[in-house]
């Protein structure tokens, strides 16, 4: 039996953070029903798009037009049969649909609603908009990345989105644990901005020193690649400078010199030499290196299936369900509306013709 078998999740999320939460739950056996409106199933929500199939694996798919009163009523009927609803619309969208937590709770007291928004539902910025990179900028991440550069630099991935997903998973699982004890559902307000700030707490409570040890440097190597080196103490620094880089002199004067060193060794060789001495080092790997890494593949973390390269959850020891495909648009409509909601065939066809489903 899967860990989360018996848990049903309504998934009203899009982009990365929300779908990541529900994917994690689906990976551990929850029945996740992704609700899509046919007219907005575009971009990252296009079932034929490159992101959709990765972020929505192991889920079921149904269509509902929430712009119609009938569509909203059908969602409420689904709420009655579910444990958790996850959405990441702007804060006013669900209210504008009339799908408030209070209304949903009146249909199912045990329902947990996880609402993910850019800045939360309180505070002066509650209606501001933001994406992953907005949170990087506002939280101080971009500032910290840019230290030592003339112009601000950015990471090339949606870092904050994945973090929000991790926090969202913690919140959802904690609420499910509490519901098991009390039988009561609740509303969870998760702020993307705050998620990013939480992870920079070290820097907010006090300035972090960039001096002293460990000393971290990125060495340009003979083959044009870089090698990241972390020197824990003076002995490491001395070895690195004198033996590897061939630079002599007093240690005090060498500390700053380490920054600008260009190694005469290829990156992999430098990594090997330093590791032999117990110094932490790694040639900076490209995405190709990561995707083709034998160790990650041997451990079953990276797998090839259906023409894609998949990352499994790193929660080793907890049995994950087999990798299943992402749903096609409305693929499980019959299951959701006929089986779960007990709809008659005629009613189902009627809704379909009216564009509600």
């Amino acid at each position: 039996m899967s860990i989360l078998s018996g848990i049903r999740v309504i998934d009203l999320t899009r982009l990365i953070s929300g779908p990541f939460v529900t994917r994690l739950l689906a990976d551990f056996g929850a029945e996740v029903i992704k609700i899509q409106s046919p007219k907005v199933a575009k971009g990252m929500e296009d079932p034929e798009g490159i992101f959709f199939r990765y972020l929505n694996r192991n889920k079921k798919g149904a269509t509902l037009n929430l712009d119609t009163a009938e569509g909203r009523e059908l969602l409420l009927r689904l709420v009655e049969k579910s444990d958790l609803l996850v959405e990441n619309f702007s804060p006013r969208v669900m209210e504008n649909f009339g799908l408030t937590y209070r209304r949903m709770r009146s249909r199912n007291r045990g329902l947990i609603v996880l609402s993910i928004s850019s800045f939360g539902r309180k505070g002066p910025w509650r209606n501001y908009v933001g994406f992953s990179h907005t949170f990087h900028a506002l939280s101080g991440l971009t500032h910290l990345l840019s230290l030592g550069f003339k112009e601000p630099v950015e990471v090339g991935f949606a870092y904050a989105d994945w973090l929000i997903g991790l926090f969202g998973s913690i919140a959802a699982l904690a609420a499910l644990a509490m519901r098991r004890r009390t039988g009561e559902g609740q509303f969870i307000d998760l702020s993307g901005f705050e998620a990013m700030v939480s992870l920079l707490g070290d820097w907010i409570v006090s300035p972090q020193k960039a001096t002293g040890f460990p000393k971290r440097i990125c060495v340009k190597c003979k083959d044009g690649r870089f090698c990241a080196v972390s020197l824990s103490n003076e002995d490491d620094l001395r070895y690195f400078l004198l033996e590897v880089a061939g630079v002599g002199g007093h240690l005090e004067g060498l500390c700053n010199l380490a920054e600008g060193i260009v190694s005469e060794l290829p990156a992999k060789e430098l990594e090997g030499r330093l590791r032999e001495k117990g110094i932490q080092a790694a040639a900076v790997r490209s995405l190709r290196d990561v995707v083709e890494d034998k160790g990650l593949r041997d451990r079953g973390f990276l797998i090839e299936k259906d023409g894609g390269t998949w990352l499994r959850s790193p929660l080793r020891g907890l049995s994950q369900v087999e990798l299943g495909p992402a749903p096609k648009l409305g693929e499980h409509n019959r299951y959701v509306f006929l089986e779960l909601l007990g709809m008659e065939e005629e009613e189902f066809e009627n809704y379909r013709q009216k564009g509600v489903i």
């Binding site: 990365i16 490159i50 990765y54 939360g120 309180k122 505070g123 910025w125 933001g130 990179h133 907005t134 949170f135 500032h143 910290l144 840019s146 550069f149 601000p152 630099v153 950015e154 990471v155 870092y159 994945w162 973090l163 991790l166 913690i170 699982l173 904690a174 609420a175 644990a177 509490m178 004890r181 009390t182 009561e184 609740q186 702020s191 901005f193 705050e194 700030v197 939480s198 707490g201 070290d202 820097w203 907010i204 006090s206 972090q208 990125c218 990241a228 590791r275 117990g278 932490q280 790694a282 900076v284 490209s286 995405l287 990561v290 160790g295 990650l296 894609g308 929660l315 020891g317 907890l318």
Partner: protein
């Protein structure tokens, strides 16, 4: 029936009224609340009873289990996340090994910290007794419980959930602890940068430790769900490199699906989405793809026009125009006006300025904590539960020793004093 009556603990009621709050019972039993002055109250209560569902104010707690935290300081955030949700977290520090810094406080808020000499037999005995009664053990990377106890913790307590945060597996140096800078290089994070022209950019120090910690908190919650179903403990091992790779999955997907097939590039860039430009008084991040037409209209009102609209070079031209345009504005103007038009503008902020951020203070996310080293503004967890408020408390290492020994383990006053005199604590 008085609250101190031991029979209270065993009443097999479905619902028990306590003050104005009604608590539903778990497994058909009602549990006493634990309230203040812990050392004085504690006698011989087993762990299950201590994991109260409510705070002294009557507010319910999200989690009701007990965690032994043996993780290195870098990974202490895993149990902080659980402590914030109401779990009783007992962090065991080696006696005299900890220094109270703002970072230490931040990662250890809401925990009970015991300073103990685990080199001594008496200290190890306390650890064993705690392990026997706890629900969860979290350790990593150097402070592995197995090294201390010389046996698997799940053998000591078969119902224990043991989550172990580990270094990079299968490589030289495993178990020595991996610097997150090096993990950043190994995982591909350094090359997945904003612009292809930039040199490798690592995430700020400590981020991979935090990512690993968040996964550990999830692992605990999932493992407890499994224990609930199967009735037995479990060992879960997390690899820092794998966790680090997961947070750039979007870059990997783009590489796998687009770059590898079409161009053979092994890097990705997000420079088509946003650009960061200098204003009169700082830098601001400008969204390019998001409502581009609105942005162009706004710029046109300021007399800035994008002249080159040829296919393929349009974004270069937009970027050049945005640079020219931003230079005549202040950061505040662009941020506030942009957001009023629902465009995700954002200033580049120094994290040290965040304690003054009005939004974060008004929402109660940043909380002021009084400590012996001064007042701190510390972030809470980023979620608000309708049934549980956010509270942050720092307890000095050692202040919970008596409560843990007498209250949780049931040691007598004499036994506790003996341990103290032997300098085990």
């Amino acid at each position: 029936m008085r609250r101190s009556d031991p029979a209270w603990e065993k009443i097999p009621l479905r619902r028990v009224r306590h003050g104005s709050v009604v608590h539903k019972a778990w497994r058909g039993h009602a549990y006493l609340l634990w309230k203040g002055n812990e050392g004085a109250r504690a006698k011989t209560r087993p762990f299950g009873r201590l994991t109260s569902k409510s705070s002294p104010s009557g507010e319910q707690k999200m989690l009701s289990f007990t965690v032994i935290d043996l993780a290195d300081e870098e990974y202490a955030f895993a149990t902080r996340a659980l402590a914030d949700l109401g779990a009783i977290v007992l962090r065991l520090e080696r006696r005299g090994s900890h220094k109270i810094t703002p970072t230490y406080i931040y990662r250890n808020l809401n925990k009970h910290i015991m300073a103990i000499d685990l080199e001594r037999e008496e200290g190890l005995d306390v650890l064993f007794r705690l392990l026997k009664r706890a629900d969860v053990l979290v350790d990593g990377i150097r402070r592995l419980a197995a090294d201390l106890t010389k046996q698997r913790p799940t053998e000591v307590n078969p119902k224990l959930v043991h989550v172990s945060m580990r270094g990079v597996q299968g490589r030289k140096g495993e178990g020595e602890g991996w610097d997150d800078y090096v993990v950043s290089a190994l995982s591909g994070q350094m090359v997945a940068r904003g612009s292809r022209d930039d040199p490798p950019v690592p995430l700020p120090a400590g981020q991979n430790h935090y990512i690993l910690s968040l996964y550990a908190a999830i692992a605990v919650l999932l493992a407890l769900e499994r224990r609930e179903k199967e009735g037995k403990g479990i060992f879960v091992e997390l690899d820092i490199e794998e966790c680090a790779v997961t947070i750039l999955e979007d870059a990997l997907i783009r590489y796998v699906e687009e770059n590898r097939a079409q161009t053979g590039h092994d890097q990705v860039s997000r420079e088509d989405l946003f650009c960061t430009v200098a204003c009169r008084d700082g830098y601001v991040q400008v969204p390019l793809l998001y409502s581009l037409e609105t942005l162009l209209e706004w710029m046109a009102q300021d007399g800035i026009k994008v002249v080159d609209r040829a296919e393929g070079t349009r974004y270069d031209a937009v970027r050049r125009a945005v640079k020219e345009w931003a230079a005549i504005h202040s950061v505040g103007e662009l941020f506030e006006t942009g957001q009023a038009m629902r465009l995700p503008f954002a200033p580049i902020v120094n994290p040290l300025d965040l304690p003054r951020n009005l939004h974060l203070r008004r929402t109660g996310f940043l909380k002021r904590i009084k400590t012996e080293i001064g007042d701190l503004y510390a972030p809470s967890m980023p979620y608000r539960f309708s049934k549980c408020s956010r509270k942050l408390t720092f307890r000095r290492p050692g202040t919970s020793n008596e409560w843990i020994c007498k209250g949780l383990l049931g040691l007598s006053e004499e036994e506790f004093r003996k341990l103290e005199e032997a300098k085990v604590f």
